[in-house]
Symmetry: C2
Subunit: 210 residues, 2 copies
DNA sequence: TTCATAGTTCGATGATAGCCGAAGCATCGA
DNA sequence: TCGATGCTTCGGCTATCATCGAACTATGAA
């Protein structure tokens, strides 16, 4: 289970159970121990519990152990992820998720448009300016009684955070208005299709980091 | 046992057993497993079996694990070494051991007088010259049918290698002839006492490294 | 509200890891 | 050659751990 988490992605308890080839009950007990030992950290998301390695140090130690194990001739093979095409862009409730969603939040962090600590995300002054100038979004108008402006939402396919909250929704709305992207016509589909120009504009603002 | 080995020193099977608070039989089984796993390496020395961590990587991983354990509030305390005054210089069979013996071999390696790989030590051309000029020892005359000229011998107190073999014995003989050092008068004592001038001359040739 | 799903807790069971006593090798010293 | 010491192997015991079935809680969907 730990090696499965070494990709940096977060996995649910059941997925980890399946990965390890044990029942959920057994996995639950092991996960509790790993958490008590400070090796992993849970993140609640609806009725799921996503687990991730609690620290880069843990990944380092595991990597070292794998190296030693490899020298001793003991090695496990890991299967890579296998996912459909909607990994790239889709709707999560009302905001952008998938590869592009994760990429967007990553880029926003790099550009210091937001500050993130754990689940809490805060828009910086620079971020507000950016939203107003580039996307014509008035961040101050997004406050809502029961919903935060910014929120980290764990991405189903990427298992990394993307941006939720009223700002996430407003940005998705703007992308739609600007005809950069549109929800797939197929009923029930969550796929988001980006137009050619939309993709370019999006990349100009939130291009994959160096 | 592994944390006991993290000092870099080699420890005997019985010492590791005592350190762990278990019987030698139990320790033997664990040591066999650790060796099979490539974590430790044995070195036979007479009827002792000295174990050391097989690799700096192993020490790194252990250190990482200890760090994680410390964060989780689980930690072990380790007792330091405790040894008598004969740690400094003593006779090991017929050659110099103890702090000064280890220091001597270290210095010889640094000065490229010898080349060492594992237990095997070889005198370099530079080394032969050094022996002839500084200590009036003809290295070529030291060959022996059943004994190597140079041999790494694991030091009891320092748990590092010092120089054994006919060369080690010849050097100790020379030190005695030159009145640099003498075996302690007490019968049965293995202590070697260095004279004031002897200590200086020795330090001039094999001074502690920079 | 009711049902389905994700996850946990509890209890029982079977496997095994750790442990030690006794005995067997190997090495050293006399 | 013989005894002492360091270490290992063997056999058996016990405690513990991983495992799963059954039952329970929480969240989301209908």
């Amino acid at each position: 289970m730990l090696t499965a988490l070494m990709t940096g992605r977060a996995l649910t308890a059941s997925e980890l159970a399946q990965e390890a080839g044990i029942t959920p009950q057994t996995a639950s007990s092991h996960l509790a121990k790993l958490e008590a030992g400070g090796l992993i950290e849970p993140e609640k998301q609806g009725r799921h519990r996503y687990y991730r390695l609690s620290d880069p140090d843990v990944a380092d130690v595991l990597e070292g152990l794998q190296g030693i194990a490899a020298r001793a001739g003991h090695m496990r093979v890991r299967t890579g992820p296998k996912d459909p095409a909607l990994r790239r862009a889709r709707i999560c409730y009302d905001h952008l998720a998938g590869d592009l969603g994760v990429q967007m939040l990553d880029s926003m962090r790099r550009q210091k448009l937001v500050r993130q600590s754990k689940q809490a995300i805060e828009l910086t002054g620079e971020g507000k300016r950016f939203m107003a100038e580039e996307l014509q979004i008035d961040a101050d108008a997004l406050t809502h009684p029961r919903r935060p402006v910014c929120k980290a939402c764990l991405d189903w396919s990427e298992r990394r955070h993307h941006l939720a909250g009223t700002l996430g929704a407003a940005m998705m709305d703007r992308f739609t208005e600007l005809k950069w992207a549109a929800r797939d016509a197929t009923p029930g589909s969550r796929v988001v299709n980006f137009s050619r120009t939309g993709e370019k504009r999006f990349a100009a603002l939130f291009g994959a980091g160096e």
